[in-house]
Symmetry: C2
Subunit: 218 residues, 2 copies
DNA sequence: ATATCGGCAATACTGCATATTCCATTGATA
DNA sequence: TATCAATGGAATATGCAGTATTGCCGATAT
């Protein structure tokens, strides 16, 4: 059945991407077109289109004449992603803290507040919030760098963060109070416009997160 | 006519990408599917697949229900790309200079030699070599950072460099002796393993190139 | 071990249906 | 008359199904 607008393509794209990031499609899973057709209710041509996009973003592996696979995971890849996040996100944060206006501050505070509420609930043992929690985490980190003034930088970061997020969802354990404190430190440094300090806190935040994830991974 | 292997898809992908980078498909050009079908001899489904890939890399703009367009250019975008190149390429260069082994040195020297030969010919007035020259430039910059040890970093750089290359091809004027000297400086610093100096020369190289391109752009 | 065969699945095309956008003509209004 | 809005048809994008061809891979035979 034909749908309106670009609905089928966009919908399957987002669903498959989400299923990869949140681990419903495990790393290295073979993505047979017929199986996908049943699961997502889209035709082969639309699916190929979708998978091509995901392949060029790195969430899917396209092998010549053998079809598509969920991109496998590895410790090395995780480490690379963390280092790239440090490079790109810290750079963006510096620019953003320098340029951010009042609206930016407002958005950062708002995003922090929502994240903080959720983190406290998770800390208290509510495990049903994992997806929400990660979304608020995403939004907080995005809000921080959103005033960096470079669309290219933001879209690079977006893909990077999603890839990194997949690893976090694979291990899915909570770092507890520590992460809350780190977020608070970054927030304070950013609002007081201390560029170096904010970037340093962010770097530490990512490094500690990496160590934690590496410890649980595999 | 059905072809063997993944040939049609890969071929049209590379052709269209090349045509965008080298200006044969001008910025903001509308890419009608029927027209592309005639021009590249591929079916609509294959073309949509190809265009989706190019869209997610940023060479093509996919507009809902309105089709595909060559991504437009702008001064701001050019500046963003240059700054990202500085961020990413200098970082990769540092890692590479630290880690590079003998093979790496060999590849760098070889790539430099080929670039140097071509640049001298271009400098002497041979305008038929533009595409070769840019390819050797590409290869030299790639050889320099290839020992950085991060696949993610290299693939990020690859897309970035291609986008930047499009701007260079759009203005397509030669900076002359100056660029030759800059390449020499980077080479020497890299081979003598002076990380800071190499990164600094690279930054300057990109900044001067940007100024030059901006001066001719529009 | 090597060679051959057959099934499964990917690649690619065509044709078709439907939805949307584009555009020029028409009609209405200031 | 000039300008703006409505409208209807042509052009185009989106999406699906069906089909042919090719390559991969495991099973069987030599």
């Amino acid at each position: 059945m034909t749908q309106s607008v670009n609905v089928v393509g966009s919908a399957t794209y987002q669903q498959i991407k989400r299923d990869i990031i949140f681990g419903e499609l495990a790393p290295a899973t073979r993505l047979k077109l017929d199986w996908l057709r049943e699961r997502y209710g889209a035709s082969v041509s639309t699916l190929r289109e979708t998978l091509s996009r995901l392949a060029s973003e790195g969430f899917v592996d396209a092998q010549d004449q053998r079809g598509f696979f969920v991109t496998p995971t590895s410790r090395d890849d995780l480490i690379e992603l963390a280092n790239l996040r440090i490079l790109i996100e810290c750079h963006a944060l510096r620019l953003s803290v320098e340029k951010g206006d009042t609206d930016w501050e407002g958005n950062v505070v708002s995003a922090y507040h929502k994240l903080n509420l959720t983190e406290k609930k998770v800390d208290a043992g509510d495990t049903s919030l994992k997806e929400d929690w990660k979304r608020y985490d995403w939004n907080f980190h995005l809000a921080l760098i959103e005033a960096c003034g470079s669309q290219n930088l933001l879209s690079l970061h977006s893909v990077l963060y999603d890839k990194y997020l997949r690893y976090q969802m694979l291990v899915l354990t909570y770092r507890g109070e520590q992460a809350i404190d780190e977020h608070r430190d970054i927030l304070d440094a950013a609002l007081s416009r201390d560029v170096d300090l904010a970037a340093e806190y962010l770097r530490t935040h990512i490094e500690l997160g990496l160590e934690h994830t590496l410890g649980v991974f595999d």
